[in-house]
Point group: C2
Chain length 368, copies 2
């Protein structure tokens, strides 16, 4: 994918990732970095070299350098990009430190506890001229591209008026007691940050990232004893009358829905975050649907779209980030502003939902 030719006497130099912390999700990303063309894993950093060693051995990263501190990984000159799957409360510290050392950044979601924190990270990236991307994998699936094309073409869906999104999974007792995502000092946004992030992103994606005007949280969010959200939702309103509602939860069965209802058509996808299967993903579109004669059926029927992919979406994400970094590193290119821009909009809406929750479902206006 790179447009930069390597010198004739050496193979193209891959973009080298450093993994900062051995979170569970990092295993999936390690596999993605091994699969993605143009990428390699240069190093793993953990709070002890032993933990880094175990992680590298488990994930097949035999060639990776091991670091026993996060600082050492950031100082590793062989690392181009730092992948940060740390608890959200540590993001500002380590993402700004990485940017200050000239590292490009792949940051797990939620990217920050609030938009002001994210702004500190993005400012550090700007100052250093490094690429920023959040790790919202489904953005990179070719199904998402196909859905985007259909939505953008306008004819099949028309003007979107109603959006529904749900992302939930049923956490077990161990998760609800011990996972970082239920701890106020680690991931204080709880289910809103973890699963709600995807719903908000899906909604913004559907409207081509136009911010809503008003956000009103659903009433009676569920919190744990420490006040961390386990289930919540919100309705978002746009100036032109579009409306979106989402629900996110750690307490209900695995569900990953986006429903878009437009003037001309309706799009359904029920596994948007992680497709049911890795190499093939579906969605359905009902377009210009009418009642059959006597209203005894539909005419035409909805159509099913199947999109196949050789590489999983997370490897496509890594490949895309490697392409952008290579362009900066090897060809004097500039960071792509699209990725931090949509991260920031997601975080701004997330902030508004949190504020509305904290105010007992009062409406929160978002400045345009």
């Amino acid at each position: 994918m790179s447009s930069t030719a390597a010198a004739p006497d050496q193979p193209p130099r891959p973009v080298r990732f450093g993994i900062l912390g051995c979170a569970s999700i990092a295993r999936k990303l390690a596999r993605a970095m091994l699969l993605a063309p143009g990428a390699a894993v240069a190093a793993v950093g953990s709070r002890s070299e032993e933990k880094a060693r175990l992680f590298a051995a488990d994930t097949g990263l035999d060639a990776a350098r091991l670091h026993g501190t996060y600082e050492a990984l950031l100082d590793d000159p062989d690392v181009d990009v730092v992948y940060i799957p740390l608890p959200t409360s540590l993001h500002v510290r380590w993402a700004t430190a990485a940017a200050a050392r000239g590292k490009h950044i792949l940051l797990e979601k939620p990217t920050a506890l609030c938009a002001a924190d994210l702004d500190a990270i993005l400012a550090a990236c700007d100052a250093a001229g490094v690429q920023f991307m959040d790790s919202t994998m489904w953005m990179h699936h070719p199904r998402t591209t196909k859905m985007r094309e259909i939505v953008d073409a306008k004819d099949a869906i028309g003007d979107i008026k109603v959006i529904n999104s749900v992302f939930s999974f049923r956490a077990d007792e161990d998760f609800l007691q011990n996972d970082i995502r239920v701890k106020p000092d680690l991931d204080a946004l709880g289910a809103l940050g973890d699963v709600g992030w995807y719903c908000i992103r899906a909604i913004l994606w559907a409207v081509d990232y136009e911010l809503p005007k008003t956000v009103i949280a659903l009433r009676e969010p569920v919190k744990n004893r420490a006040g961390v959200l386990l289930a919540c939702g919100a309705t978002l309103y746009w100036a032109d009358g579009k409306t979106a509602t989402f629900s996110c939860s750690f307490l209900t069965n695995l569900t990953m829905d986006i429903t878009l209802v437009g003037t001309n058509g309706t799009l359904h996808v029920t596994d948007f975050v992680i497709p049911y299967e890795e190499k093939s993903a579906e969605f359905s579109v009902a377009s210009k649907s009418n009642f059959a004669k006597l209203h005894i059926g539909w005419d035409p029927l909805p159509s099913k779209h199947v999109v196949t992919t050789e590489l999983p979406q997370e490897a496509l994400m890594v490949e895309e980030l490697a392409r952008l970094v290579k362009n900066i590193r090897d060809a004097g290119g500039k960071p792509e502003g699209k990725w931090p821009a949509i991260t920031r909009k997601t975080q701004v809406v997330l902030d508004a939902v949190k504020t509305s929750i904290d105010k007992g479902s009062d409406p929160v206006e978002i400045a345009s």
Copy 2:
């Protein structure tokens, strides 16, 4: 289906329907009455005998008696049940008149402009000892029975926490100018009464008709110049934390969704009001869904359920009503109270949504 044996020397006497008014939807019901075992069409009444004649000829009701006034149909001694597809504003007058003449009633939805009006109809039915049923056809599809079994069994879905429902169709310019459903003097509830009725019924069905505690309309409903709703929605809250959101509209593509998200499973149906095809209908259930290893897919995958039916849902509705009426007429049975009870709950919630809309989306409490 009848448990009453006919006298040995004569065939069982069908339950005879009279059709009061020649609305478009009545054509579908006429067909259903011809298809339904145990039912027959005795008469058609319209504002002129000529209209009744044209309707009967068009719908194959060759044996039906024709009446040039509504009163004449109600006075027809051969009519057991009156089907009333008149504009909602006429329901109280004609439904109470029919009941007063001892006729059983199949009433189109929305059944009334408000719960107080419906109560007048139900009181008349009670006083006369006649059966009341609203014409919400999907209730009678065997798919609905199958979904009910799965929900009631609790294991597959668990406790339902989130419900989403959408029903919309894209009305053409002629409809938006001339249909009775956009006229304040005929069907003042507009889209809320016509399509929102089904969403509210679906939500109540999902929770086994437990009334919500609080109803809050979505903001910025769309109205026509006469103030009739063209698009709106609401969120419903129950005391135990269940939440439901629905959207209904005349302005977006044909969409008929119910999504139930429970602690154990998720149910999706995307054609709940009128199945895509008449003889076979589907829904999907994801139950105890987990992430596959490394979160690269789902395990187990959702399962698709297919339910076939020889008779369309509207004929099954007519058959069920005929069975109830036959039991009263021929065997001294009592009216089945389930049907008016769920009609009333639907209307009570619809009232609350309308009140919330009229109050700018203020919360409206429903007395339990």
